[in-house]
């Protein structure tokens, strides 16, 4: 980069670069980032990228940014950072070299050479991507056996599966875990109305003291209301019938069994 570079030309360069840049400002969105823009600009110089005039490239890029802003394209911050950096690099390339270079700064020519190298590298990868893309691809250009013959297979100790599969399996689990919601099923209860109706139907048979446990339905152990619910509803319904004078209830002491009997109004 140190040779073949003539500062005297560069005052016209900005104007020419603006024209070059103009042609490129078709679609800012078309570029993924400033490096891709730089590469597109560098190609207009039609030289080996490693022999690129970085000074001219800087002009081209600054013109590109200026034009984009004039047209009120919104540019992402990294485009502007690149513009600032290139403006700085340009000034360093143009200024006469200080006799004693600052130790912490690489020579501007070296930085320029590195930029050219990065562009060459990106270009190489874009070419590589293209070279891969035009290769005959399986399922697009060349085709394998459409109807492979079954081959009897025995499983072996060898396992299929890669790390990505393992990670997906794991994270799938954990995500399910965080999304798991708790939906308790409300316990089925024995409706009070049903208990009353049932008790009324049983009244004629309740001519003797009968324990509550024997009066309440047994229920089924697997489905429907629990035994406790049957007992509670039957007791509540029984107490209502007691209040209405159709039933008698008695309990000898606290926590003892409760007995029920139909009230025989006249004989009691």
């Amino acid at each position: 980069m140190t040779e073949g570079f003539q500062p005297s030309l560069d005052f016209d360069a900005a104007a020419t670069a603006a024209e070059d840049g103009e042609a490129l400002i078709i679609d800012v969105e078309g570029y993924e980032g400033p490096l891709h823009v730089l590469l597109a600009l560098a190609r207009t110089q039609k030289v080996d990228l490693l022999k690129l005039s970085v000074l001219k490239l800087a002009e081209q890029y600054l013109a590109f940014v200026q034009e984009a802003r004039r047209r009120r394209f919104s540019l992402a911050a990294d485009y502007l950072v690149m513009a600032a950096w290139l403006a700085y690099l340009k000034s360093r390339l143009l200024l006469p070299k200080p006799e004693q270079p600052k130790p912490e700064e690489a020579p501007a020519e070296e930085i320029a050479a590195r930029l050219a190298f990065r562009l060459a590298k990106l270009e190489a990868m874009r070419n590589a991507a293209e070279a891969l893309r035009v290769r005959p691809q399986l399922g697009r250009d060349v085709f394998g056996r459409g109807d492979p013959q079954a081959i009897r297979i025995i499983p072996s100790g060898r396992l299929e599966g890669d790390l990505y599969g393992l990670m997906s399996a794991y994270i799938g689990q954990r995500q399910k875990e965080t999304q798991r919601s708790y939906k308790p099923a409300p316990p089925a209860a024995y409706p009070l109305e049903d208990a009353r109706d049932r008790l009324r139907r049983l009244l004629p048979d309740l001519d003797r003291w009968t324990p509550l446990a024997g009066v309440a339905p047994l229920g089924t152990p697997t489905a429907g209301p629990s035994r406790a619910s049957y007992l509670a509803s039957t007791l509540a319904a029984g107490l209502e019938l007691v209040r209405e004078g159709e039933l008698e209830a008695r309990q000898l002491e606290a926590f003892a069994d409760i007995y029920l009997r139909a009230r025989k109004g006249e004989t009691a």
Partner: protein, 212 residues
């Protein structure tokens, strides 16, 4: 190249890539107009006669098939990698990240009861081993992964299991994860674990040192 030969090439390719037999009409329909399908087929039959693959006419049309006398080659048993069931894969992943982990803990992450078979398969394959016993009531057995596991997944050490950053890179982390979502460190020492066999500390010795 003669037309006949070119048609033969085309038929060769079509029959090879087709999922089933193709009739002469199928072939003619897919070849350029005026192709001499019958002639080309005749040529191909002759060309493949006596080879390992022969061109034969079956009910639906024409197809390539392997020579009958080579049937023994086709039925030979082949070493095919075994595919883990989804449940086993998930269980293995949980053990890898959460080890040492008990069966109950695996179940709590998966939200389903681990069927006996799943863990057994992993133990049998040598991917998972019993590591020790948790110092909690009931002293449940803890599970961990083996060296064979590391080898299979190309990991130098447990510390190399991909973490959050890599999962994010790989696009595996959805955005609606809770903010405090974290991955366990499978390499972390586990203080509340007793070795299963005090005499065989073949793995990480970190948790064993608690006793000394």
């Amino acid at each position: 190249m003669t037309d006949r030969m070119e048609t033969a090439r085309e038929i060769e390719a079509l029959l090879f890539a087709a999922a089933g037999a193709l009739s002469e009409r199928d072939l003619a329909g897919r070849l350029p107009e005026g192709a001499d399908v019958a002639g080309a087929l005749e040529e191909l039959v002759a060309r493949y006669a006596g080879r390992g693959v022969v061109l034969t006419q079956v009910a639906g049309g024409w197809r390539f098939q392997t020579a009958e006398d080579l049937a023994w080659l086709m039925t030979q048993e082949r070493d095919e990698p075994r595919r883990l069931s989804k449940a086993a894969q998930e269980t293995l992943a949980i053990i890898a990240y959460h080890q040492p982990v008990t069966r109950a803990e695996i179940e709590s992450v998966r939200g389903v009861q681990a069927s006996r078979g799943t863990l057994d398969v992993l133990l049998e394959l040598g991917m998972v081993r019993m590591r020790g016993r948790r110092r909690t009531p009931g002293r449940p057995v803890t599970y961990g992964t083996t060296d064979a596991f590391l080898e299979h997944y190309g990991l130098a050490a447990l510390a190399d299991l991909p973490g959050m950053a890599e999962m994010r890179t790989a696009g595996l982390l959805s955005l609606d994860l809770p903010a405090d979502f974290a991955l366990p460190d499978p390499n972390a020492a586990s203080a509340d674990e007793d070795p299963l066999e005090a005499d065989a500390p073949e793995f990480h010795v970190d948790y064993l040192e608690e006793d000394s």
